[in-house]
Amino acid sequence: MSDSTSAIHVLKHHFADLDQQRETSTFGMWLFLVTEIMFFGGMFCAYLVYRVLYFNSFGAASTTLSIQLGTTNTAVLICSSLTMAMAVHAAATGHRKAIILFLVLTLLLGGVFIGIKGVEYYDKFQERHVPGPNFNFVLEGAEAKHFQHVDPHAAEIYFSLYFCMTGLHALHMLIGFGLITWLIIAATRGKFTPEYYSPVELVGLYWHFVDIVWIFLFPLLYLISRHP
């Protein structure tokens, strides 16, 4: 296929052929994602250190998050990963309308995720669980009996990590929205062909990476110390 006219058009002069060009861009994107892994890895490490140090208080603070909203959001993000994968598939098989449809679906599902996250943040502001001068953490009812000797300062550390980690994750999603919008515009203009769809493939990698970060954030922030 490297000798067809459209292939020559998309092949940059410093690459030998399209396979090499594709391989190089994928490898470059993975190098970027590796830096992202180490970036989020530092935050996960900080979380683990404080989780071990303030085991009980972290468990108590974690139970104030809504498990319904958290689980729904996990499912929504997995759906958006599927639609993103389908967009890449549509690009690889040359279905322009399908690319646009799946990218729009991905964007919508991402919007639902951010919307639900916004509701959760709003609840936390209402409950005064946002670290700062107005922070207040008092457990009531059965939870107060289940978790004894809870240190409010340790709970504040939990919520600091909660807002940092979910906030950075949400920021990555917002950047993803910009990238997907750019792809939709480019797809509408017919920029992608089965010979050349690297931008779709690479934004796909980015989007799936953001999904993976959430796959780990969900159990660590929402599911620790749940009890019947």
Binding site: M1, L18, D19, R22, E23, T26, F27, W30, L31, L33, V34, I37, M38, G41, G42, F44, C45, L48, V49, V52, L53, Y54, F55, N56, S57, I67, T71, T74, A75, I78, C79, S81, L82, M84, A85, H89, A92, T93, H149, D151, A154, P194, E195, E201, G204, L205, H208, D211, I212, I215, F216, F218, P219, L220, Y222, L223, I224, R226, H227, P228
Partner: protein
């Protein structure tokens, strides 16, 4: 073209597995397994992440160089986490972890 096109069926199967994993991890969180709750949750998360990397991110079909890069990233992340945790987890054992910390160490 050596580029491998993943069949739609594979995507759907991985998608279903991810949803089942999510339901499973949420369900298991309410079963009291003692210290194994965290291990079960992280194992399910690892399996989900590997499924996404292999199929959604096409690493099952990618070059050896790309795979080696990803594996080395995972190894370095594990070094970061295990070495940090061996430090912090074992500090209270020596009994020299500072008087102020003793209280939070006994917190559980």
């Amino acid at each position: 073209m050596t580029d491998h096109i993943v069949p739609v069926k594979t995507y759907l199967l991985v998608f279903l597995a991810l949803l089942v994993g999510t339901a499973l991890t949420t369900g298991m969180a309410f079963v009291d397994l003692g210290p194994f709750n965290g291990i079960v949750a992280l194992t399910i998360a690892m399996i989900k992440a590997v499924l996404v990397v292999l199929f959604f991110m096409h690493v099952k079909y990618s070059s050896k160089m790309t795979r080696a890069t990803i594996v080395s990233a995972a190894v370095f992340l594990l070094i970061l986490l295990t070495l940090s945790m061996t430090d912090y987890v074992t500090r209270p054992w020596s009994g020299t972890y500072g008087a102020g910390r003793a209280q939070s160490g006994n917190e559980k």
